[in-house]
């Protein structure tokens, strides 16, 4: 029970961080970015490669994994989305490009980093937590702590800093923002790199607890998106809560009911939620004008 909860919450935090990535990019650019899940895998496996193949110290390897994820996110933005914007591509083409981007990053990761499921050592070896008779890997504590810290950091960034205000301005209207002298392309690039870093950190955190492999990027991408829709794509906190609910729910269904139908049940619930609250749990209704 406790272990299931811990696993569920940790997976949920990964979904939550991916969902937050969706929400951030959406709020700053209006783009639904299906590459978001890939950065989790890049962060996890990038760290693994640097640690085991390049023999970096663990801390530096984690840093390198994050930089890899952030750089790929920035490169995808610059090389794919900006040219599409320049050509006034319709939104569905941009969306498609991110789906394709996610689909291509998986085999590329297999080819260039590793085709297998890999595991990282725990961040602090021997750190376990005892709760009512169960031993839980201390890694889960880091996942939760880092997840909450990033949620707080991102919320502050969006609401309190000038950069955050400019990012939200770009999300509200690219054209108006341009007229006010803001560069939506640069804003989008910054937020993509931040999303890559957040995803990368999620990957470096979860890989010691549950192994990672290249193909998981798409799963994280889809579940992260579902979580974001669940909580509200335009609300970073909503997306985050959606992720935790989704991960926890999935873990309990897996453990106590059947692992075969967890997706059916979770997605079914999503439909119910969206019918009752079309903008997600915390999403705000779009107003006219």
């Amino acid at each position: 029970m406790i272990v299931t909860l811990a696993v569920g919450i940790a997976t949920g935090f990964v979904y939550a961080l991916v969902a937050m990535g969706y929400s951030l990019v959406y709020r700053a650019t209006g783009v639904v970015n299906f590459t978001a899940g890939s950065y989790v895998v890049l962060g996890g496996l990038g760290t693994w490669w640097l640690l085991n193949q390049a023999h970096f110290p663990y801390g530096l390897a984690v840093l390198g994994g994050l930089i890899l994820a952030g750089a790929v996110a920035g490169a995808f933005w610059t090389l794919v989305v900006i040219p599409l914007w320049r050509r006034d591509s319709p939104a569905y083409v941009v969306l498609l490009s991110t789906v394709i981007g996610g689909a291509i990053l998986a085999p590329l990761t297999e080819l260039l980093i590793t085709p297998q499921a890999e595991e990282l050592p725990p961040w602090v070896s021997g750190f376990t937590v005892h709760i009512s008779g169960s031993d839980i890997s201390g890694q889960y504590v880091f996942v939760v702590a880092a997840g909450l810290a990033m949620l707080a950091g991102v919320s502050l960034l969006l609401r309190k800093t000038m950069l955050g205000k400019q990012l939200r301005a770009c999300g509200a209207s690219r054209e108006t923002s341009r007229l006010l002298g803001i560069h939506p392309e640069l804003a989008g690039g910054i937020i993509m790199v931040i999303t890559g870093l957040i995803g990368g950190l999620a990957g470096a955190l979860i890989t010691p607890a549950q192994s990672s492999e290249a193909s998981m990027g798409l799963t994280f991408g889809i579940f992260g998106f579902v979580a974001a829709a669940f909580g509200g794509l335009d609300s970073v906190a909503g997306a985050f809560i959606g992720g935790i609910l989704l991960g926890t729910g999935q873990a309990f269904i897996d453990r106590y009911y059947t692992p075969n139908y967890d997706e059916v049940i979770v997605f079914g619930l999503l439909v119910v939620v969206l019918v009752l609250r079309p903008n997600g749990l915390l999403g705000k209704a779009e107003q006219a004008g």
């Binding site: 709020r27 800093t161 000038m162 950069l163 205000k165 400019q166 939200r168 301005a169 999300g171 509200a172 209207s173 108006t176 923002s177 341009r178 007229l179 006010l180 002298g181 803001i182 560069h183 640069l186 804003a187 910054i190 335009d234 107003q287 004008g289």
Partner: protein
């Protein structure tokens, strides 16, 4: 005026849509710190001209210079950065941002240090941020929007939304401000306030190109007025001269005045004509 080189100079600008020549060989010069009015009946080409001058539409012919620089093929975003701001007839508040934030983002974007430097938070930048917040509040106070500072911008009532649009345009620190029918839909009190605010902008060294239907409002604050009709400049010059001009009346009422130029029912739609009749 002749000694001062114009801030914005359009020469022989033409734009046709299909077979319709919306703007036909129009030349226009706006000097620094002047309020220049653009007036004409519906369909005279005012909106097309504004859209040409602000870079949203490219002319078929002619040249547009801003501060001596050829900007004929320059887009609206770059023109905005060069110092040409505009407002739209339909206000475009940034939804999801508060009233204060709408002005703040416009203020900061002028700091060419750009987005990236905002990530680093040095004490000097924090001071700058404080100064910016103060500036934003000052601008809001000018427009009577201070009490609404923390409201979501999209919740503002119509008149205040229009003010916010103008305040935000001023926040980009333009040298030329294009106002597209800023008085439309405002009540008389608001129109009077608007006139004061435009006068203040001019006193602050900003040139204004003002498009409006409200003839009395326009002539009350403009230094120069250009009258358009059928895409051509009918008359252009100092406001007082244009006001007395027969050509202005003709543009609105037609050269051959029928006994009753405004049949019942059209009156409410043509306040400008009534104003001219009253003279």
């Amino acid at each position: 005026m002749t000694a001062v080189s114009p801030l914005l100079a359009a020469s022989h600008v033409t734009k046709a849509f299909g077979g319709v020549v919306a703007v036909d060989d129009v030349s226009l010069a706006i000097g620094p710190s002047t309020v220049h009015g653009l007036i004409g009946p519906n369909g005279a080409g005012k909106s097309t001209l504004i859209s040409l001058l602000s870079g949203f539409t490219r002319p078929d012919n002619g040249e547009i210079r801003f501060d001596g620089q050829d900007v004929t093929r320059v887009g609206p975003a770059r023109l905005a950065r060069l110092g040409l701001a505009r407002t739209f007839q339909a206000a475009t508040p940034l939804a999801g941002l508060t009233v204060l934030e709408n002005v703040q983002v416009a203020l900061t974007s002028k700091y060419r240090s750009g987005l990236l430097s905002v990530l680093a938070r040095t004490p000097a930048m924090r001071r700058e941020a404080k100064a910016l917040a103060a500036q934003a509040r000052e601008l809001l106070a000018d427009f009577g929007l201070l009490t609404d500072a923390d409201r979501p911008a999209r919740d503002l009532p119509f008149g205040k939304l229009r003010y916010l649009e103008i305040a935000r345009a001023l926040a980009t620190r333009p040298r030329l401000l294009l106002l597209d029918e800023p008085a439309a839909g405002l009540n008389q009190v608001e129109v009077d306030e608007l006139a004061v605010l435009i006068g203040r902008a001019r006193a602050g060294g900003i040139a204004v190109l003002l498009v409006d239907h409200d003839v009395s409002f326009l002539f009350s604050i403009c230094d120069q007025v250009t009258v358009l009709n059928f895409g051509k400049v009918v008359v252009s010059g100092p406001a007082a001269e244009v006001h007395g001009s027969k050509l202005l009346r003709e543009a609105y009422l037609g050269p051959a005045l029928p006994a009753d130029p405004d049949p019942p029912g059209t009156e409410s739609r043509r306040p400008e004509a009534r104003h001219l009749e009253a003279q």
